[in-house]
């Protein structure tokens, strides 16, 4: 193994380890200011997608420019050296592959349908332009984080159960397993981020060069080619992952990776039919408004659509959320869960708070701190709790179900919700009554009542309510700060 290949494997191992370590520290609630969002801030697909959908490039996503400049110089080194999902696939194809050299030659040949990723990119960006951001569904970084947060972490001891998490994990598993049959199939045929980087790789200053007369056409270079970019024939620089397996394996030493290498004669660009490309974009331009109109996400607020504290208004939120699951991974009470149906088709896998599974910790601002695109605003504790004098950030309001509540319906004393209520003064107050129980026995009861002016909708009351499956006090989204129309109380703005 040459030093280039060793170096590349070292880089891949480090970046994969870093990705996993950051997710692990996030789940462990590490109080340090670690760069949890670094991978996503440098993600050009997220940056372009959010810019197209929202018309603005939020804050630190500008770091994506660095990765594009890196690609302009070195080609798609991100895919071959950095991307943790690429590394996992490469690992799978290396570990489980019993391929003969003849088979290797077969599976590493370029196929015209690998251009599919570019159509996918065109469709996702067109949909973003039409206001529906779906790049996160196939973004390799978001996809990997999702699969890990909703499938792998739940399996760990003490991990939270994530209903619907199997969807994300199955996709991740399918990608890794597919790589056993065709190396990096996802990268070659489906990855929109790879397609986007491929556009810039066409300008790459450093690229693979075949020089001199020494080539015996032995095809050894193609055996281990990760990108199916045919270094032997008409090298496709937009497909090349710069894994450098080809230069390493060339016995004659005619292949090299060098600065300003002469461009290969033929297709520098992927095989794209303009008709397909246009079709994908037009299809998405039609599909996006359809999803908005008929997907069930926008329009009227819904009771169960409780967004994390600091989340932008629904439309702005959907224009920024890349479904990366970082907020879900960061939530200390495991209250945030992927929306399977509650946010509509468009909002699939965006975060919602499920109070029966966890509550919004009153002084915690973790989800906003790790949101890479600003879909959830970063709050200070003083701002969130209202300590700064302005009204606190509300995510909903609690309602007592008089038919299930123990003091209201069962002549049984209970004050758990009031006890848990974190606001000061408490939003839940107790009305003292003496009720006549069975056999005319007087019972002194304290009935919980909710003050809608004080309730922030944190949901700890619902979470701790002793009434089993369906709590006797439940939070719904009405009163949330982010939607001025989802209200019941006409509190004058302070």
């Amino acid at each position: 193994m040459s030093w280039t290949r060793r170096l590349r494997v070292l880089y891949q191992a480090c970046f994969l380890a870093l990705f996993l370590w950051l997710l692990a520290r996030l789940a462990a609630g590490d109080p340090r200011d670690l760069p949890f969002t670094a991978f996503f801030h440098t993600d050009p697909l997220a940056a372009v997608g959010v810019t197209f959908a929202a018309g603005t490039l939020p804050g630190p996503l500008v770091w994506a420019v660095a990765l594009i400049v890196l690609t302009l110089i070195f080609g798609r080194v991100f895919c071959g050296w950095i991307c943790p999902l690429g590394t996992l696939q490469q690992l799978s194809s290396w570990l489980f592959s019993p391929r003969s050299r003849r088979e290797s030659l077969q599976v590493n040949r370029y196929r015209r349908w690998y251009a599919l990723k570019t159509y996918i990119l065109a469709a996702l960006l067109a949909a973003a332009l039409a206001g529906s951001l779906q790049t996160g569904l196939l973004d390799p970084l978001a996809l990997l984080a999702r699969g890990l947060a909703s499938g792998v972490w739940p399996m760990l001891p003490g991990g939270p159960a994530v209903p619907g998490g199997w969807l994300a994990t199955t996709l991740l598993l399918a990608i890794v397993v597919a790589s056993r049959f065709i190396p990096r199939l996802f990268c070659r045929a489906f990855c929109p981020l790879g397609a986007l980087l491929g556009i810039f790789a066409r300008f790459a200053l450093l690229r693979i060069q075949r020089a001199g007369d020494g080539c015996s056409s032995c095809s050894l270079c193609t055996f281990a080619c990760q990108g199916a970019d045919e270094p032997l024939g008409e090298h496709r620089v937009a497909e090349c992952h710069v894994c450098l397996n080809c230069t390493d394996s060339c016995k004659e030493g005619v292949l090299s990776y060098r600065f300003l290498a002469p461009a290969a004669p033929a297709p520098a660009r992927p095989d794209l039919s303009r008709r397909y490309l246009l079709g994908s974009a037009v299809g998405a331009l039609v599909a996006a408004p359809l999803l908005q109109a008929a997907g069930g996400g926008r329009g009227a607020a819904r009771a169960e659509l409780i967004r994390p504290p600091g989340a932008l208004a629904e439309q702005e939120f959907l224009q920024r959320c890349i479904k990366c699951s970082l907020c879900q991974q960061a939530c200390p009470t495991h209250a945030l869960h992927p929306a399977i149906g509650v946010a509509g088709v468009e909002g699939f896998w965006t975060p919602v708070l499920v109070p029966r599974r966890g509550w919004c910790e009153f002084a915690c601002t973790r989800c906003g701190e790790v949101c890479p695109t600003g879909a959830i605003t970063e709050l200070t504790t003083a701002r969130k709790t209202g300590l700064d004098g302005a009204p606190p950030v509300r995510i909903g309001t609690a309602f007592v179900d008089h038919g299930r509540c123990l003091p209201w319906a069962m002549v049984t004393p209970c004050i758990v919700c009031e006890e848990m209520c974190p606001t000061s003064p408490k939003a839940i107050w107790l009305e003292e009554v003496v009720e006549t129980g069975r056999e005319d026995r007087p019972v002194r009861l304290q009935r919980p009542r909710v003050d809608p002016q004080l309730c922030v909708g944190c949901g700890i009351c619902e979470h701790r309510c002793p009434v089993g499956e369906l709590a006797a006090i439940r939070v719904s989204s009405v009163g949330e700060s982010r939607d001025p129309l989802n209200r019941m109380i006409a509190a004058a703005p302070a």
Binding site: L57, V65, I68, L72, F200, P262
Partner: protein
């Protein structure tokens, strides 16, 4: 024919490719610079303009006229205030806000009388108004309300542009003191002059609904939260919206089962119209047509305390 794998790169090609890569980097960087934090998520709401004309001591703050012809009543009342030329100048755009809240015919007295609205349009037109818009946000289906109230036909024939509620664009506006997140009719903010034309009706919460209460009709969803403290809300509306002219239509008044009524037994023909520049005084006059003294209405008291006007019925000039 060139040998692709043998040629060395020429200076020209090297320059071209470096320039191409540089251009691409520049384009990406420029794009990022252009879009970087270009738009914040929050948008600031515009404030509501003041449509009043300067006060003039030679004219009374309000004038009322009665007689069998509603249009003549309006003309006399406006003439007593100095004529429409005092309020509307040549080339201005005017928005007229009647009450078109309900799917009722004029005889049921749930909406402003169409003859009063039409005459108002004609007066504005005669004063040289470039454009006269008649609009309201109805509670029932706006198509039915505008048609059955007779206002679409009458105001349209008089030369107004009648805009039914479902065709109105709404914008957020800064309405301090009222519920958060209320939107108002965009046409209202664009108008040079605004004339408020309520009808005198009973209301189960505020006792009467008149001019200041009529501003509910320019607000979008969420206005139903204002009923939680209706008297304070009405006074706040009076402070937020300052019309050029208020015209109180008491051609027919609704005595009971307001604000939508229904039975002709609840309607009384008063055959009077008042116009004025003082919203509070106009509302006091309207309340008097239903037999309420100004002091018995908390919203009038709150509005007076806020300095929005004077509910002194003696100041109304009878013509």
């Amino acid at each position: 024919m060139s040998q692709p794998y043998h040629h060395r790169i020429t200076r020209r090609e090297a320059c071209t490719r470096l320039a191409a890569a540089g251009l691409a980097a520049g384009a990406v960087g420029g794009g990022a610079l252009f879009f970087h934090d270009r738009r914040r998520a929050e948008a600031s709401a515009p404030s509501v303009p003041d449509w009043r004309v300067p006060a003039s001591p030679q004219y009374p703050p309000a004038a009322a006229a009665s007689g069998p012809d509603p249009a003549a009543n309006l003309r006399r009342a406006v003439a007593a205030l100095g004529g429409m030329e005092r309020f509307v100048r040549r080339g201005e755009s005017v928005l007229i806000k009647p009450n078109v809240g309900w799917d009722r015919i004029p005889e049921q007295a749930a909406n402003t009388d169409p003859q009063v609205v039409a005459e108002l349009v004609r007066l504005c037109r005669a004063a040289g108004a470039r454009r006269v818009v008649v609009t309201d946000i109805s509670c029932n289906d706006p198509r039915r309300c505008f048609a059955r109230s007779g206002i679409s036909a009458a105001a349209g024939a008089a030369g107004a542009e009648v805009i039914e509620s479902h065709r109105l664009a709404m914008v957020p506006a800064a309405l301090t003191g009222l519920a958060a997140g209320l939107e108002v009719v965009e046409e209202l903010l664009k108008a040079d002059r605004v004339i408020n034309v309520p009808v005198v009706k009973h209301h189960s919460l505020s006792k009467v609904t008149l001019g200041m209460k009529n501003w509910y009709g320019v607000l979008g969803p969420g206005r139903n939260r204002l009923h939680q403290s209706i008297d304070r809300s009405i006074a706040e509306l009076g402070a937020a919206f300052r019309p050029t002219l208020t015209v109180i239509d008491a051609t027919r008044v609704l005595l009971r089962n307001g604000p939508q009524g229904g039975s002709l037994n609840d309607v009384k023909a008063v055959n009077a119209v008042a116009a004025g520049t003082d919203q509070v005084l106009c509302d006091a006059w309207g309340a008097a047509q239903l037999g309420h003294a100004p002091a018995s209405l908390p919203f009038l008291e709150l509005a007076e305390q806020r300095g929005l006007g004077r509910a002194d019925l003696k100041a109304v000039h009878q013509v």
